[in-house]
Amino acid sequence: MAAMIELRNVSKSFGGVRANQDVSMDVPAGKITGLIGPNGSGKTTLFNSIVGYHPIDGGSIRFEGREISRLKVPQIARLGMLRTFQQTRIYGNMNCVKNMLISVPHRSMGYFEIFYDHSPGELERAERLLEFVGLYAKRKLLAGDLSFGQQKLLEFAMALMNQPKVLLLDEPTAGINPTLINGLIDRLKRANEEFGITLFVIEHNMRVIMNLAEHIYCLAHGQMLADGPPDQIRADKRVIDAYLGAH
């Protein structure tokens, strides 16, 4: 079966900075794929290119076989490809349940459905997912009053509420209390197994990504450096050098 997301020779520059150069990769359906690389290696830029946040300079991006490199952000999101933000974006002035209700899928929403009330089914699903990420007890708190880690969990739950086919997570564990990281890894795996959501995860923490992904791509200086299963990446000299050289 063809990959869910296929990148071929994707390039993106900001002025003189070549953030991505001829990047090619495949994200297979149903799996967890990792993307690593030192800070500034172009990981977030690649995510932004995939979800239509900015136009790319060259190359091709296909989602389920369809070229999407000219579509806009909300169009791509409605195709079933969602992203979370490295800086975490939630609606701080609303409570958690409202954050969840905003996130209902808009794929098939017709002109009149946008004037409907939220259905009891949606409310129930929102609460179930808040329970899933461990925020049920805080569901009526303003999202802005949650801790940073809890906000990341909320953003994850919002993404699940949207019922995407593939979820692009930008450093889901960054800034999270280390004692909570294992729980998060576990939930990511369950989202993949139980809800059948394909995951594509940027992660700076090597231990986390080795534990999570089945296949890992490594970027350095905007170019694809290596890819392979975790064990192979862990032993790859170029990857080790890139990480050591960056610090």
């Binding site: 979800v51 806009k72 952000v73 909300p74 999101a77 409605r78 969602l82 992203r83 933000f85 974006r89 939630i90 609606y91 701080g92 002035n93 609303m94 409570n95 409202k98 209700l101 905003i102 996130s103 209902v104 899928p105 808009h106 794929r107 929403m109 002109y111 459905e113 946008i114 004037f115 409907y116 009330d117 939220h118 049920y136 007890a137 805080k138 009526k140 708190l141 303003l142 009053d145 919002m158 949207n162």
Partner: protein
């Protein structure tokens, strides 16, 4: 009223009191009926502005355009039903309209319907231009539309250019006419209020709040942001178009700069009233409109010549020192009263079993 009343009973009681006050006011204070009439116009202005500025975060300075557009569309329809509009306006009032009551009311109703539809169409067309703009550019862009419309209509001979159009006079006693328009604007304002009150409780309301708080995130979640923005703008236009149509007939005479596209007298106060009362709240625009209107009428009466200075001061004070407005402040102080569920963070494990 006892404390045992439920929230919905309290709300109903409040609506009842307002309705009774609104119905007896024009009889009790008949000397002030024109001020009371304009009060409902102001309430409608503030509610429709707040849908855009308060609930969706798009601060329009040009909403008055739809009021003026509705007014002119309706006037052309009403005159056009019985006269050649170009000849009528070219006569500068020499042609005196003499409509039977039936002609008057059918003209008014038909004109108002076409005005509402026309304003909505304008909103859809303009949305392609204005929603490419963000923040201050959106504000200035919309202001430009209102100002340009005033100038264009002022140069358009067919609709009387700068000398405007005289409209048919209410068929009946002047007092009956005053009361008719008082209640027409009252009903229009009440319908507007209940429509947006309903809208804010649907998915739609939550989506435009999401656009206000973080439009990029809303896009990333797949929300049809452009569709929501266009519809909100069109809904404001719908009610403003109706209001403009009624106002033209109430005023009997319309012209572009002082009546239809009156940016200083009506356009800017839309914003001020919402800010004063508390933008993004249901009652804020209503309270702000009442307060603004009372202060305005009082300054006109007691500080004539200084009225704009006094109002300018009010604007500065509300923008600089009181940004959340009266309702924003009250909601922060007594959140339970407004049904806002804010819980203290429960102690660890306290509620986990729920």
């Amino acid at each position: 009223m006892t404390l045992a009343m439920t929230k919905s009973q309290r709300t109903l009681g409040l609506y009842g009191l307002i309705a009774i006050a609104a119905v007896i006011a024009p009889f009790l204070f008949s000397a002030y009926i024109s001020q009371l009439t304009v009060l409902w116009v102001m309430v409608l202005f503030a509610i429709t502005w707040d849908a855009m500025g308060g609930q969706m975060g798009y601060n329009s300075l040009g909403n008055i355009f739809f009021f003026g557009a509705g007014m002119y569309i309706s006037a052309v329809v009403q005159i056009g039903l019985h006269y050649d509009v170009a000849e009528y306006t070219a006569a500068y009032g020499a042609i005196k309209v003499d409509f039977t009551p039936t002609q008057y009311y059918t003209g008014l109703v038909l004109g108002t319907i076409v005005a509402a539809v026309g304003s909505v169409l304008f909103a859809f067309l303009l949305s392609w231009v204005v929603f490419g703009l963000r923040g201050p550019y959106f504000a200035i862009g919309t202001l430009g539309i209102a100002l340009a419309a005033g100038e264009l209509v002022g140069a358009w001979e067919y609709v009387g250019a700068g000398s405007g159009i005289s409209l048919p006079v209410f068929p009946g006693e002047p007092e009956a006419g005053e009361r008719f328009f008082y209640f027409a604007f009252f009903v229009a304002a009440v319908l507007t209020f209940f429509f947006f009150r309903w809208l804010y409780q649907t998915r739609f309301g939550l989506a435009i709040n999401a656009i206000r708080d973080d439009e990029e995130k809303a896009e990333a979640m797949g929300i049809h942001t452009m569709r929501y923005k266009t519809i909100t703008w069109a809904l404001s236009a719908f009610f403003l178009g109706i209001c403009g149509s009624l106002f033209g007939n109430y005023n009997i005479f319309i012209e572009p700069l002082e009546v239809a596209f009156a940016t200083v007298v009506f356009g800017i106060p839309m914003v001020v009233m919402s800010l004063l009362g508390g933008k993004g709240t249901l009652w804020g625009p209503v309270i702000g409109a009442i307060l603004y209107h009372v202060i305005k009428e009082a300054t006109w009466k007691y500080f004539l010549g200084w009225q704009w200075v006094a109002l300018g001061l009010l604007i500065i004070i509300s923008v600089v020192f009181f940004q959340q407005g009266i309702m924003g402040w009250a909601q922060e102080k007594w959140p339970e009263l407004f049904g806002i569920e804010v819980e203290e963070a429960p102690a660890e494990g306290e509620e986990e079993a729920a």
